[in-house]
Symmetry: C2
Subunit: 312 residues, 2 copies
């Protein structure tokens, strides 16, 4: 099948075509640029929702609830769960590839775990391209689920149209860390496993951290919601909050531009790396320097400075 | 304190100086190149041992046993545990920063968990530099512990002087994945938690995978060992196997050169990225393209091709 035909099948929301398209992206196929070129004009309508939280907080169960909730509001939903690559699991270290069985018969839902090779931290490129596929396939909502590991995943969360940060009670010092690291990322905070001990304290800690920040009148202050994903309790309120944020930030062009910049920068650096790997002169310089460093003749930083001087 | 004095204190194996030096590296300080420049001439004697395995297989307990075993053979031991960065934990997602308390009074042991920011997958650079610090501080053995996530960590494992791959019984399909992904990396396989059900089967599966490969007479066939890290059972045999491999591959220059190349390439790409971020022309081109992509006027691959044409 030609890439053009594949793209047409994706636009017709053929699930097997979607699967094949995302696999091309995941495997960094040289056909990916052509595929995205065909799909791009059909994309741009979906809302990208980031769901970020450490392993074990119940993100995938919560995403399942969100999917059901949006389906009941007649929105189609695509899900991309980003996993760091591991040689031990052949891809999904933290994720669960068999999920959301409840939606398997629903043409309006497509769920996909995605491993990224991460040579150069290609998470933003892979995720953006997969989102273009689901967007072009007519999904109204595209949820990207990450564990927030590495700059790429943090950038995805930061530049989603709406960013949900999930935590659970009893993370203790980690809530401290959230203050420092992820406060700026969240448009909506969720404390999942709300029936566990310490849920109210977790909410209070996040609220207290938020209260240290200045919110000008009329600006969005991230709400802190409690959910119980195993029963989908609190998820209606979460969807309401997400839609409220979306309504106040229609087509937030600055954030979409940030997202595009993050992604373009990553793709650009990958291209530069590919050029380097193909350039005989650069490869020779690298090999010679590697010999010198491994023999202890020159330290690595000096060696790199010399290579750069030689190449430019 | 000047960086030169700090380097001198590292060489004198002052533990606070070692801690400070590794923090400079971890934080990607602009002083890191000078520091490594001073230390490099004092390094090159340590054996770099990679210990790689998924979370939960007992790597840190096993590394604790290895440390004790090598100390009893009068070798000094440095440990670097690499964690993927997470905003939720302020660094150590999978690791445990409070470990190996048993060695705290021993000047011949230094243990450090290390977060890497991973902008460009800077794991190889950070790990190599931390290894130079511990090597220059006179550690005979430097153990690098990773979960094998991402190309950087796999490259570290692949290019260590000796690479130990750890698994546990009952990983099921994952052992299948090990066959495909990590068979080439391991010089020694370890099945930890050997008293758990299925340990012999796990060993047999790895042996069976190994038997599909051709080992010319006289070449090293990775042994598959059983350990019980909570009691350090089997660790003497593991140390023996590591030393046997080391004796047969003295100063394996090809592998050290591979290691240097991986690290230099990574540092080189980081420098190129820094240049890009500082170059007004490149930043302008990126911003303009980001606007076009976010407005749906041009697809990201075409945009990057145009930027590259404009810059070169």
């Amino acid at each position: 099948m030609s890439i053009q035909n594949l793209a047409a099948d994706v636009v017709a929301r053929d699930h097997r075509a979607i699967a094949r398209a995302i696999s091309l992206i995941e495997n960094e196929s040289s056909d990916a640029p052509e595929l995205i070129g065909h799909l791009f004009e059909h994309a741009g309508r979906a809302s990208l929702i980031g769901v970020t939280g450490p392993p074990g907080v119940g993100k995938s169960t919560l995403v399942d609830c969100l999917t059901t909730a949006w389906r009941s509001r007649d929105r189609t939903v695509g899900v991309i769960a980003v996993d760091p690559t591991s040689p031990f699991s052949g891809g999904a270290l933290l994720g669960d590839r068999i999920r959301m069985q409840s939606h398997t018969d629903d043409d309006g839902v497509y769920v996909r775990s995605m491993a990224t090779r991460g040579h150069l931290g290609g998470v933003a490129t892979a995720t953006s391209d997969a989102a273009v596929v689901l967007d072009a396939a007519g999904m109204d909502i595209v949820i990207v689920e990450t564990v927030g590991v590495g700059q790429g995943q943090i950038d995805i969360a930061r530049t989603a149209d709406v960013s949900i940060v999930v935590t659970v009670p009893g993370m203790g010092d980690d809530v401290q860390a959230i203050k420092a690291g992820i406060m700026e990322i969240a448009d909506v905070f969720v404390v999942n496993k709300a029936d566990a001990a310490g849920a109210d304290r977790a909410v209070a800690e996040i609220e207290s951290a938020l209260s240290l920040r200045e919110y000008a009148p009329g600006t969005w202050r991230p709400p802190v919601l409690k959910t119980e994903a195993t029963s989908c309790e609190g998820v209606t309120e979460l969807v309401d909050a997400v839609e409220r944020f979306g309504a106040r930030h229609p087509r937030d062009s600055q954030r979409r531009q940030d997202r595009a910049r993050v992604r373009l920068r990553e793709t650009l650096l990958r291209r530069l790396a590919e050029r380097l790997d193909r350039d005989d002169n650069a490869r020779g310089a690298l090999e010679e320097a590697a010999g010198q460093v491994s023999r202890g003749e020159v330290d690595p930083y000096t060696a790199v400075t010399r290579i750069l001087e030689r190449l430019t």
